[in-house]
């Protein structure tokens, strides 16, 4: 369709100096139909066990509940998972939670179903044909142990988590001025520390000053965190004693999966944190035994 006005020639010549660069199209990765349940995890540091505590916890949970031949993949970025958080479990439609004939024949059925981390226990129950809600003790020896397990979970997820090197206790943090000049490049580890530490860490410039507090500039009391961490490991080792599973349970419980994840992660951390666990022989032996169990449940 002829336009009324044509672009004047000098302008065309000027624009020709800035050509439009066309990049080749990016095709989605070729994916085959999914045949076995696959766990999406953060990349492993060594032989199939993830380097992220959350992913490792769910790996241990799956293995300790007796599942075998679960596949793993670690090429997915966290932004690609449900809720922005790995791990996710990708299951074929035949053994998924939604059992419907119509769905299994619909388009995209070969893609299976993706479950977020909190749906994994339900799926495992469905696969093994067990109903966890029937057991009021949740696998523990007695009601006192069940109550006590809550306390140990709080200890692991609070005190021990705060001391892990992802929280950068043992690595140098960028200085306050660096975080002022380059605000985007500083990692947001302080945010997760603010969620864990009690009382909340105070801002660097203080509450009373006129400098407004920024989320990354907090004053973290490293020595207090390390000292609480030492007490936590000591009491963990004391409580394990020579038992096969924590709190004297006869079968592995979610607390064991959580404890294994943290201890395994600690053993791959800098010395200042690692040495507390390596001093305790029972924890090291327990972790070694559970590691063999967990690794057996997965294939690449």
């Amino acid at each position: 369709m002829a336009s009324f006005f044509s672009v004047p020639a000098p302008l065309v010549r000027f624009n020709a100096r800035f050509p439009l660069a066309l990049h080749p199209p990016i095709h989605p990765r070729a994916r085959g139909p999914i045949t076995a349940p696959t766990l999406w995890i953060a990349p492993p540091s060594d032989n199939l066990l993830s380097s992220d505590v959350e992913c490792l916890k769910w790996q241990a949970y799956l293995a300790l509940r007796g599942l075998k031949d679960v596949r793993l993949r670690w090429d997915i970025a966290p932004e690609g998972s449900i809720g922005g958080a790995l791990p996710n479990l990708h299951v074929p439609i035949a053994i998924s939670l939604l059992k419907s004939e119509r769905l299994s024949h619909s388009d995209g059925a070969e893609d299976g179903e993706l479950l977020a981390a909190h749906s994994i226990p339900t799926w495992v129950d469905a696969k093994l044909g067990v109903d966890s809600a029937e057991d009021p003790l949740e696998g523990y020896v007695d009601p006192e142990a069940r109550i006590e397990s809550r306390a140990w979970v709080a200890l692991l997820e609070g005190v021990v988590h705060a001391a892990l090197p992802t929280q950068m206790i043992s690595q140098p943090r960028p200085s306050y001025f660096h975080s002022l000049i380059f605000p985007a490049s500083t990692p947001p580890t302080s945010e997760s520390l603010q969620k864990i530490l009690l009382p909340p860490p105070p801002p660097l410039a203080g509450y009373l000053s006129f400098i407004p507090p920024t989320p990354n500039a907090v004053r973290i009391n490293n020595s207090a965190i390390i000292s609480q961490y030492r007490d936590a490991i000591k009491s963990l080792s004391e409580r394990l004693g020579t038992d096969k599973w924590f709190l004297g349970s006869s079968a592995p419980t979610p607390l064991d999966a959580l404890a294994f994840a943290y201890i395994h992660r600690i053993l791959h951390s800098p010395d200042i944190i690692r040495i507390e666990v390596t001093r305790r022989v029972n924890l090291v032996a327990w972790e070694w035994r559970v590691r063999c169990l967990v690794r057996d449940g997965f294939v690449r």
Binding site: G158, K195, P202, P203, P213, K234, L236
Partner: protein, 376 residues
């Protein structure tokens, strides 16, 4: 107050948030620290009430200072004070409340510290800081009354924001939905009311939030009720640090006059064992005839607006005569070195030859002109 014969302040000082609502402190960890010290080392410590954590040596409250040691956070304080019993038995005979526990119970104690601090603490912080009604009528005004004029307007909100991340992660932070105020000038013709979305309706959203929070409260308190299980204390019918910590949190859920009385009724009716346990711990620590010795806090001034380096806490030791003499000798040495340097430089430096050259030049010029003048 302390007896007149003892005018020296005790060497153990505890920095805490100020007292409110007839409790020694309105922060659960500070309250627990005060109760523990009162039970373990009565009359051998004193308390400083700081209105903000900037006043404490480590930047966090509660903070214990004993001569040159500064210890922050409740579990570390308990550990330090218990250590005093082994270090100095004569002065602190009953400093370790957990001395009679077995190894297994001591391990459990550490786990219960962590659980009580995080879970019960979240509940207390929710009721103090997140609940909008409580904040506006109770906590906000109490905090604002502690500060002088410039800080009064921005510091309470900052303190409230510091708990936001934690409560958001726990699902206990309520985003306040503004209630649209009725206009004082009623219109004759009201505009057609569109259906308001559910989450923007303030009354319904508040009811949902309250229900959610109460559910959480009941879950947590169930755990502690089962832990207490009808006994008078948690471990072996003897007071321990876990009892003190749990009691401090429960006291802060029952004692303050919250505008929202649902929680107090819940605690009194459904969990009477917990409230009576808390009250008995409080009476044991601060019942009749027992008082805390308080040191008046440093008053805030306008200079606090400027951020300062975190204050050190090392007390200046009295210098001995030998040290004074050494200091004099040291300064004398420096003075001598500097003086001899100045003298040396002044001796070997050349005369101010620049000026002399200029003078010479001037003289030469003058003589030249003079000779020329005379020649002409």
């Amino acid at each position: 107050m302390s007896s007149s014969s003892q005018t020296k302040h005790p060497s153990i000082i505890l920095y805490i948030w100020p007292s409110q609502w007839e409790l020694p402190s309105f922060d659960p960890l500070c309250l627990a620290a005060v109760l523990y010290l009162q039970l373990a080392i009565p009359r051998q410590f004193s308390v400083i009430e700081c209105s903000s954590p900037d006043g404490s040596p480590t930047g966090q409250l509660p903070c214990l200072v004993h001569e040159q040691y500064a210890v922050a956070l409740y579990p570390s304080i308990v550990k330090y004070i218990s250590g005093l019993q082994t270090a100095d038995f004569k002065t602190y005979p009953r400093a370790d409340l957990d001395a009679s526990l077995s190894h297994k119970e001591k391990a459990q104690k550490v786990a219960w510290h962590a659980h009580a601090e995080s879970h019960l603490g979240d509940l207390v912080y929710h009721y103090l800081y997140s609940n909008q009604e409580n904040w506006r009528k109770l906590t906000g005004t109490a905090l604002a009354s502690m500060f002088p004029v410039p800080q009064k307007y921005y510091v309470p909100q900052r303190i409230r924001d510091s708990y936001r991340e934690r409560l958001l992660a726990a699902g206990l932070w309520k985003n306040f939905v503004e209630e649209t105020a009725e206009s004082p000038f009623p219109r004759d013709v009201k505009p057609l009311e569109t259906k308001k979305e559910l989450h923007k309706n303030p009354a319904i959203s508040q009811a949902f939030e309250r229900g959610k929070v109460l559910q959480k409260v009941q879950t947590e308190l169930d755990i502690y009720q089962k832990l207490l299980d009808g006994k008078s204390f948690i471990f072996r019918n003897q007071l321990s640090s876990v009892d003190v910590l749990v009691a401090a949190h429960i006291l802060l859920l029952t004692n303050p006059p919250y505008p929202d009385v649902l929680l107090k009724n819940l605690l009194v009716e459904i969990y009477p064992t917990l409230s009576s346990h808390a009250q008995s711990v409080f009476n044991a620590a601060l019942g009749e005839g027992k008082s805390l010795s308080c040191i008046p806090p440093p008053s805030l001034s306008l200079w606090d607006v400027i951020p300062s380096w975190p204050k050190g806490h090392a007390s200046k030791k009295q210098s001995t005569d030998e040290e004074i003499q050494y200091r004099k000798i040291r300064w004398g040495f420096f003075g001598l070195a500097l003086g001899s340097l100045v003298t040396y430089l002044s001796i070997i430096s050349p005369r101010p030859s620049v000026w002399q050259d200029a003078e010479d030049n001037n003289e030469n010029n003058n003589s030249h002109t003079g000779t020329e003048g005379r020649a002409i």
